[in-house]
């Protein structure tokens, strides 16, 4: 039996190159950076576990307060309360995330890969249907498995947009950056607002990653993980189509 015959047999499988080497490398670096930044970020948050909007801190009326303890030590990096070490981890991995993200974004935009993620009009019209399919945990087979559905497209675009905003909000907390680019502080509505936005965007990304990992597990964990490491994704042909 030839490879072509095997590929089109009902219930058969074929293997496609789903992710480019660059995408896979960027994804791996991003995953490591994300967890290092999240956990060291919680360590930094714990040094002053409240949030405010505006330029300054209103100690009496915080927007959100986890005082006095903040996040539990198992979630922070390092585990013990240590702001100095938390900052070391955070700023090292912030550089790594920013540089890695710049490479990924350049690839996405300059090589037109963003077209795979940009929803079409018919995509947007199919949102209700896509929600129902997701809720039933029915995942596409055959060629449909190769393209992202509208919910995936919107989620990935939102996550991709959240990272630069998150970095900008973080930079706005830097007094030196504020002196160089005063408009940045205004854009976020003040330094404490930027700190709150930084936290809220990080919370959004935590939710994204939680759902992302859940979907990886529900839609074929081995196949998904192998495809993000080797690029090779196994597709099951739709039997009833044959």
């Amino acid at each position: 039996m030839s490879a072509a015959e095997r590929a089109f047999r009902p219930g058969a499988q074929r293997v496609v190159l789903r992710h480019s080497a660059l995408t896979r490398i960027c994804h791996g670096i991003n995953a490591v950076c994300f967890f290092a930044l999240l956990m060291s970020g919680l360590q930094i948050f714990n040094a002053h576990p409240t949030l405010n909007f505006g330029q300054t801190t209103d100690f009496a009326r915080p927007l959100l307060s986890l005082a006095p303890d903040g996040f539990p030590s198992w979630a922070t990096l390092p585990e013990a309360q240590d702001l100095a070490v938390g900052r070391r981890w955070h700023f090292f991995f912030a550089w790594a995330l920013a540089l890695n993200g710049a490479v990924y974004l350049a690839d996405l935009l300059l090589r037109g890969r963003i077209r795979r993620l940009w929803p079409s009009a018919s995509d947007l019209a199919s949102i209700p249907h896509a929600i129902v399919e997701h809720a039933r945990l029915r995942f596409p087979k055959g060629d449909a498995a190769l393209s992202y559905n509208v919910l995936q497209k919107l989620a990935y675009l939102a996550a991709i947009a959240a990272f630069p905003l998150l970095i900008l909000a973080g930079l706005t907390m830097s007094p030196a950056i504020d002196a160089a680019f005063p408009w940045l502080v205004d854009a976020f509505g003040g330094r404490q607002s930027a700190r709150a936005v930084h936290f809220l965007l990080a919370s959004f990304l935590v939710a994204f990653v939680a759902i992302h990992l859940a979907m990886v597990v529900l839609s074929g964990p081995i196949n998904n993980i192998v495809s993000m490491i080797t690029g090779r994704y196994r597709i099951e042909e739709e039997g009833h189509d044959a």
Binding site: V32, A47, T56, T57, L77, A84, R87, F91, A180, I229
Partner: protein, 261 residues
């Protein structure tokens, strides 16, 4: 080794990374505070400093100055707020009448300046935001003498590369005697127009909890750079011999020397 076992190992590794949020690094046999790890992580500080200094060109880029109505009704005092060092208490008891700021080190003209002498320098008044490394911010008005003017009067030698500020407060009782507060800044920050030796806060003499009689303001860096209770200033060519050699009280305890971020 077969291809399958290779894949399995990679998968396991990736799962570990993905599950990293729930796993402590200690569980993976990694100490987040090990000197070897920190030595690598600290490389980022140089990158940050060089990048920020490049962005701040021209180096006179000013920190924002706010309006009087923006001044915080409550400004949190931090670090030492009531030094119990005997010398300081004696000086405070008589309203710092005998207090003198010493300016020395690598200078041609060492000085001893009273508060009246400092007020004789052209004053600079600025309403700025104070950002603490812990994450909070407060706005206050500061008035003082430009550090650059005071240094110019002392005539630093060409060998001077940093300015060290030695303080009256012992923030930590330590056996090696390194618990006294001190800070160092480079000449870029020392020359900056907003870098002042402040003797007034919000129109009144500097309160004790905020560093009476004199504190430093370095407006493009975090609060811990802005030493309070300043007693002596020295022009130096390096800070390896000071304290534990990292350029400041908090720097000796792991914080960045460059605190622009």
């Amino acid at each position: 080794m077969t291809r399958e076992t290779k894949l399995t190992r990679r998968e396991t590794l990736l799962k570990l990374i993905a599950g990293g949020g729930a796993l402590s690094l200690a569980g993976c046999g990694l100490d987040a505070r090990s000197p070897a790890a920190l030595a690598v992580l600290e490389k980022a500080e140089t990158l940050t400093r060089l990048a920020q200094r490049a962005l701040l060109a021209p180096r006179e880029a000013l920190a924002r100055e706010y309006r009087p109505q923006d001044i915080s009704s409550y400004f949190r005092p931090n670090g030492s707020t009531a030094p119990d060092d005997a010398d300081y208490q004696d000086a405070a008891a008589i309203g710092f009448a005998d207090w003198r700021l010493e300016v020395g080190g690598l200078v041609d003209n060492p000085l001893k300046l009273s508060l009246a002498d400092l007020r004789a320098f052209a004053p600079r008044t600025q309403i700025t935001r104070h950002d603490c490394v812990e994450g909070w911010s407060c706005i206050a008005q500061w008035k003082g003498a430009r550090l650059a003017s005071v240094l110019a009067a002392a005539r630093p030698k060409p060998a001077a590369r940093f300015i060290a500020l030695f303080c009256a407060d012992t923030l930590e009782q330590s056996l090696d005697g390194n618990g006294r507060y001190y800070e160092t800044i480079d000449l870029v920050d020392a020359a900056h127009p907003q870098t002042i030796l402040a003797y007034e806060m919000n129109g009144a003499p500097l309160p004790v909890e905020h560093g009476a009689p004199l504190r430093l303001r370095v407006e493009r860096q975090l609060g811990y750079k802005m030493a309070k209770y300043v007693m002596r200033i020295e022009a130096i060519d390096g800070f390896a011999a000071l304290g534990r050699g990292r350029g400041g009280f908090w720097e000796d305890r792991g914080y960045e020397w460059y605190a622009g971020i």
